[in-house]
């Protein structure tokens, strides 16, 4: 297709109409997921093979099929990758390998035959499901922020246009005043999806009112919370959605310069955003005099440097300025003096991508979703010990139980240790929610009330093989590592807490330690400038509140009930279950296992030699080795 530049809203509408009627729009599609997860599973090889097989078809057949292969962004079902979806039929294949491609092309595509062995099996019913939309994982979701992901080729602006892309921006710029746009966002009660849940409309309003020479809009793509990857998925899979949201926001507050700050660990997101920005600029959707309206706006990408604290707004802005990313006190808001000391609106990826949807469908539609104080939907990264791990977008207010046993498909392990124990939400600032609170609706306020947080939407499900004291230690180690060091209570207090909890894990804990932890926590909360310190004690406090018995088991009985803390466990062979295969013997690098490899024989583990690496337990096919 020749390059087009839209000089006006009419020109844009004309081109989109032409596009709708073009051969491009009527093509059948083979969608190969090439998100980070699927790539790790070998999606690149699948795509290459698919391309080869499709071009090898006879020319007449190719015209008849009118087929095109698209490399899409992350479908969010990474665990089952690489994924291949055939549209418009919606046939969904999981775990596709390059050797399967020939069958897909010759049998499914050419003959309409469904390949049973590549279909997804619903864990609840044991039935094979042929179509995308019928899979519980997708059927129980409501995708607003992620509605394009997996359906479009993120490298193709035309794909985005065919899904109604940039129409909201055109609507805003040509039929609404900046004030109208702002009022619509205020009415929608859109709250920031990055963690704080601050009202986006209020933020925009105060940046608009603030005095300044220039105004900036920033997209925070520094998704640092471990266990959250919805922003990665959105930036990789729907980069134009983020850009469109930012243009609308910039128009509303009167900004001409935007930045997207992407963390260093997401190279693919940077690549896709770069391409999208270049394409949008080429079409005249970014740059000077957009659509002939006289409005100028452009976006620059800033890459992060691998510092968790840079996800904090004031630290992020220092980082964009090329400085050390340390937070500052917030008595003056970033909306008044932010980036380069100018009024700045900073929202996260998921917040921005919601903006075009609100303009398209109206604030009333948006507020019809969700709970009283949390409107719309929220994407969660559901991971850990659940059957279906991946990205799940549901209406605000959906309960934890509905998420974990709905799209999540329930717990992964049916054994005694596989029972649900806790779900960790909100990353290092959040907490662990126990079974008794599973019917809690997920919105900003309810999760905070029980000592956790919505955060950016990480949701890590834990079963009885997870030690809660170890989890607390894990987050403390994370936070001590990531504390920028500016506020002493955060820097030193977290370190001390880490020391105490580590001692407990090693069986050296005392009962007084628990009081010490609580008192330290108070100091850290009061004495820290940013949320890293202010919410840093949450993981420890929430585990202490709901799983005190585990702390006591470590302290009083010198026992780790989950079998995780190395100093308190030993690996033992269950001689009745062992069949003498010898896999453990071969896997042990410490020569701690003795015995003869023969059917009917069994093995002994020498506790003194064993370094508790756990290799033997993972290779044992009969689950005869366990820590206790």
């Amino acid at each position: 297709m020749e390059t087009v530049r839209y000089e006006s809203a009419e020109g844009f509408a004309r081109h989109v109409n032409d596009l709708r009627r073009s051969a491009f729009a009527s093509q059948r599609r083979v969608l190969v997921c090439c998100g980070t997860g699927c790539l790790a599973g070998g999606a690149q090889q699948v795509a290459i093979e698919m391309d080869k097989q499709l071009s090898a078809l006879p020319a007449a057949k190719r015209t008849e099929l009118n087929l095109v292969m698209k490399k899409t962004g992350c479908h969010g079902f990474c665990e089952k990758g690489p994924l291949v979806v055939l549209m418009p039929e919606g046939t969904f294949y999981k775990g596709v390998k390059p050797k399967d491609v020939a069958d897909i092309v010759h049998r499914t595509i050419a003959n309409g035959e469904v390949l049973e062995h590549l279909l997804y099996v619903e864990p609840k019913t044991g039935e094979r499901v042929a179509r995308y939309g019928d899979i519980d994982f997708y059927a129980k979701q409501m995708r607003v922020a992620m509605r394009n992901i997996g359906h479009i080729d993120p490298a193709s602006i035309d794909d985005y246009l065919l899904r109604g892309g940039y129409a909201s921006m055109v609507k805003a710029l040509t039929t609404m005043s900046p004030e109208d746009v702002l009022v619509e966002i205020e009415k929608a009660k859109l709250r920031g999806r990055g963690g704080g849940g601050f009202d986006a409309g209020r933020k925009w309003r105060s940046a608009k009112k603030a005095m300044g020479d220039r105004r900036y809009v920033i997209c925070n793509g520094d998704e640092g919370d471990p266990g959250a990857f919805m922003d990665r998925s959105i930036m990789e899979g729907d980069p134009h959605g983020v850009i469109e949201g930012m243009i609308i926001g910039a128009y509303a507050v009167g900004s001409h310069d935007g930045f997207i700050y992407v963390r260093q660990e997401y190279p693919l997101a940077v690549e896709h955003l770069r391409k999208a920005i270049d394409d949008a600029r080429g079409r005249g959707l970014l740059g000077k005099n957009i659509l002939g309206t006289g409005f100028d706006f452009d976006i620059e990408i800033a890459r992060g440097g691998g510092a968790f604290v840079c996800g904090e707004s004031s630290a992020l802005m220092r980082s964009v300025e090329g400085k050390v990313g340390e937070p500052r006190a917030k008595y003056v808001h970033a909306t008044e003096k932010g980036l380069f000391d100018q009024p700045t609106v900073l929202n996260n990826v998921e917040t921005w991508v919601n903006v075009p949807r609100i303009i398209e469908k109206g604030a009333d539609w948006f507020t019809s979703l969700g709970t009283d104080r949390s409107k719309g939907t929220k994407a969660f990264a559901l991971t850990g010990k659940v059957k279906n791990t991946g990205l799940v977008e549901v209406e605000m207010g959906t309960t934890l139980r509905e998420i974990i046993w709905g799209p999540g498909g329930g717990m992964i392990d049916d054994g005694p240790k596989g029972k649900f124990k806790a779900v960790q939400t909100g990353g290092p600032s959040g907490g662990c929610v126990p079974e008794s609170l599973l019917d809690l609706p997920c919105d900003f306020d309810s999760l905070t009330e029980v000592g956790s947080m919505m955060g950016s939407g990480g949701m890590i499900v834990m079963d009885h093989s997870t030690c809660m004291v170890d989890v607390a230690r894990y987050f403390l180690s994370f936070l001590t590592d990531e504390s920028c060091g500016k506020c002493v209570p955060c820097r030193e207090g977290l370190l001390q807490m880490y020391g105490i909890v580590s001692r407990i894990c090693e069986g050296q804990g005392k009962l007084e330690d628990l009081e010490q932890i609580e008192s330290l926590s108070q100091t850290i909360v009061v004495g820290s400038l940013c949320a890293l310190g202010k919410s840093g004690p949450n993981p420890v406090l929430s585990t202490l509140k709901y799983f005190r018995d585990e702390y006591l088991a470590h302290i009083q009985d010198k026992r780790c009930p989950a079998g995780v803390c190395k100093a308190l466990i030993t690996y033992k062979v269950n001689h009745d279950a062992c069949d003498g295969c010898g896999a453990c013997l071969r896997s042990c690098v410490s020569q701690a296992i003795s015995g003869t490899i023969r059917k009917g024989e069994t093995f002994q583990i020498d506790e003194m030699k064993c370094d508790r690496c756990g290799a033997c337990a993972t290779v044992c096919k009969r689950a005869a080795i366990a820590a206790a």
Binding site: G41, G42, E79, A307, D611, C613
Partner: protein
């Protein structure tokens, strides 16, 4: 150490306006080009962007993406995100430390391997994950992670092969 070729540094610097605000971006490109930040390059950057050398070092040591010592040919980054943690990442890390005889942040003497930890690579569904250079390997176990240290060809294909 004295014979660092500054041509890549100069080329990188020529792509950015001489403004302190581009310091982080410039350092990122230099890190990519050399796989570390050579002192001479930092001096050049300080001079060109008009930032004191101490400030440049401040930034270079603040961000985890930067290293001041050369890194190995294969950088193994063990994801220690929460999802990876509860699915056994600490076991993988101990195993790699033991095998390579280095700690996270260090490089083997033959400059073959560097070991690093990273807080989350956003591939939680495949936990636990180790990223070797730019390739993510998911669903690892202690015995499978050992294979990442064998020959290059094997390392890149060992991943999902035996998954099903």
């Amino acid at each position: 150490m004295n014979d660092v070729d500054l041509a890549p540094t100069n080329e990188i610097l020529s792509k950015y306006p001489a403004d302190a605000r581009h310091l982080v971006s410039v350092l990122q490109d230099i890190q990519l080009a050399y796989r570390y930040l050579p002192r001479q390059a930092l001096e050049k950057v300080a001079e060109t962007l008009g930032v004191p050398l101490a400030k440049v070092f401040g930034v270079a040591t603040f961000y985890k993406a930067f290293t001041l010592t050369p890194r190995g040919k294969r950088v193994l980054r063990v994801c220690t995100g929460t999802a990876c943690h509860i699915r056994g990442a600490p076991l993988l890390l101990t195993e790699l430390q033991k095998r390579l005889n280095i700690k996270p942040g260090e490089t083997t003497e033959d400059l073959e391997f560097s070991l690093e930890v990273v807080n989350c690579v956003g591939a939680c569904a495949l936990a636990p994950v180790v990223v070797v250079n730019d390739t993510a390997h998911g669903n690892l176990t202690v015995s499978r992670v050992r294979r990442l240290l064998s020959t290059k060809e094997k390392a890149s294909s060992s991943n999902q092969e035996e998954e099903n």
